[in-house]
């Protein structure tokens, strides 16, 4: 991790892990609250707590293994 900015890890068959300095906003410009400094953002579309990942992707097979 660098001291400024943020870094995103694309987890194969899983979420985006975001760490560093960032804010998350919804479509209305409202900040999505979180008290975590590293978050997992859902990439599969199945999470019940979007935009965050809740692990449901593990039941879904949404992305082929490379």
């Amino acid at each position: 991790m660098t001291s400024d900015g943020s870094k995103i890890v694309v987890c194969p068959q899983g979420p985006l892990i975001v760490r560093g300095e960032f804010t998350i906003e919804d479509g209305h410009g409202q900040e999505v609250p979180t008290n975590r400094t590293t978050v997992a953002l859902c990439r599969c579309g199945s999470s019940a707590i979007k935009p965050f990942c809740d692990g449901t992707h593990k039941l879904k097979n949404f992305e082929k293994r490379s």
Binding site: V9, P15, I17, R36, T38, A40, D54, G55, K58
Partner: protein
């Protein structure tokens, strides 16, 4: 916590010794007492040996009320611990089954651990809690969990000075979150205490020790065994990885179960928090902790996978114990007769 009641010859001698003597003055007392033979058919289900091991380990965590703190490093107690641990580790290696790990990079390690977690065919306590548990069964479930969750993350913290590089940073990132990210009152152990109090349970660590069966103690003793030995640092990393990977989905079910029983925040906070937190932790634990550790030292790989597989095997036994009791309308905790002094 208070010293628990004994459950057989070894724990009887041990607990009596801790209660009565001072470590430095009474060496002969130790010599006479701690040579008791360790007999057990299956150490995972031995009340006497699992309780003894729990007590010996607890000296390294928070100790016991009115017990001399110097006992922690007493050579005779360490020798007794080593004798029990030898049997315990042998049994764990037996039930964990062979490791089938294919060497690869950190992502390959994570993927194999995720596969292991997915294939874990252990009995589903979480489905039971979600759909059918009664209030009493939900309380019992919390009582079983409390012996770890009220000191959640502590056994894995022993590994911190024993790792380096990517694996260590990963462990620190996870543990920081487990301990509430610096926010007082937000430690996962504290959230769990709120859940317990919400169900009118005593949230003091160890309050229900006498009611816990050997197999529940075995699951927390396994973490202390892995955590306290540098030699087993790979195992504690594998253990943490598999715990994180088998957490988000079950915790969503627990939350559903407690809501079905009429509870809400703050009782459900612990479970809700773990749905979100462990979806992050499982990625870090698989790729950066376990994967990072193996990248740094490929020879540790089988130990990482052994730790993960042992965790699955023991927790399957805990789950089986709970579900068998509940399905036949019985308590999963030790009964009053079982708790009668022998």
């Amino acid at each position: 916590m208070k010293l628990p009641p004994q459950r057989g010859p070894v724990s009887a001698e041990l607990i009596d010794l801790l209660r009565t003597f001072a470590p430095e003055n009474d060496q002969t007392a130790c010599d006479d007492r701690l040579v008791v033979p360790l007999e057990s058919e299956d150490i995972l289900f031995s009340d006497d040996l699992q309780l003894s091991l729990f007590v010996l380990y607890e000296l390294h965590y928070r100790g016991f009320d009115e017990v001399d703190e110097r006992w922690e490093w007493n050579p005779q107690l360490l020798a007794l611990r080593a004798r029990i641990e030898e049997q315990f580790e042998r049994k764990l290696r037996e039930i964990a089954m062979d490791v089938s790990y294919v060497p690869g990079d950190a992502q390959a390690v994570a993927q194999q651990l995720f596969t292991l977690a997915n294939d874990d065919g252990g009995p589903s306590v979480s489905n039971f809690i979600a759909r059918e548990a009664t209030l009493e069964q939900a309380q019992e479930f919390l009582i079983h969990k409390s012996i770890y969750q009220l000191k959640e993350a502590d056994p894995h913290s022993w590994a911190i000075p024993r790792l380096n590089g990517r694996g260590k940073s990963a462990l620190m990132e996870i543990q920081f979150d487990e301990y509430g990210a610096g926010r007082p009152g937000a430690m996962h152990s504290e959230l769990f205490a709120l859940t317990m109090r919400g169900l009118e349970l005593d949230a003091e660590f160890g309050a229900y020790i006498d009611r816990l069966p050997a197999i529940t103690l075995a699951s927390v003793n396994m973490m202390s065994l892995f955590g306290l030995h540098r030699r087993l640092r790979g195992c504690i990393a594998g253990h943490l990885a598999i715990y994180e990977m088998t957490s988000s989905i079950p915790n969503a079910r627990y939350a559903r179960g407690f809501r079905r029983l009429g509870f809400d925040t703050p009782v459900t906070d612990y479970f809700d928090e773990h749905v979100e937190a462990d979806a992050v932790h499982e990625q870090i634990a698989g790729r950066d902790l376990a994967g990072g550790l193996i990248e740094y030292d490929p020879t540790i790989a089988t130990e990482v996978f052994f730790g993960a597989q042992a965790a699955c095997a023991v927790d399957a036994l805990v789950g089986e114990h709970q579900l068998t009791a509940w399905r036949s309308g019985k308590s999963s905790l030790r009964t009053a007769t079982e708790r009668m002094p022998a």
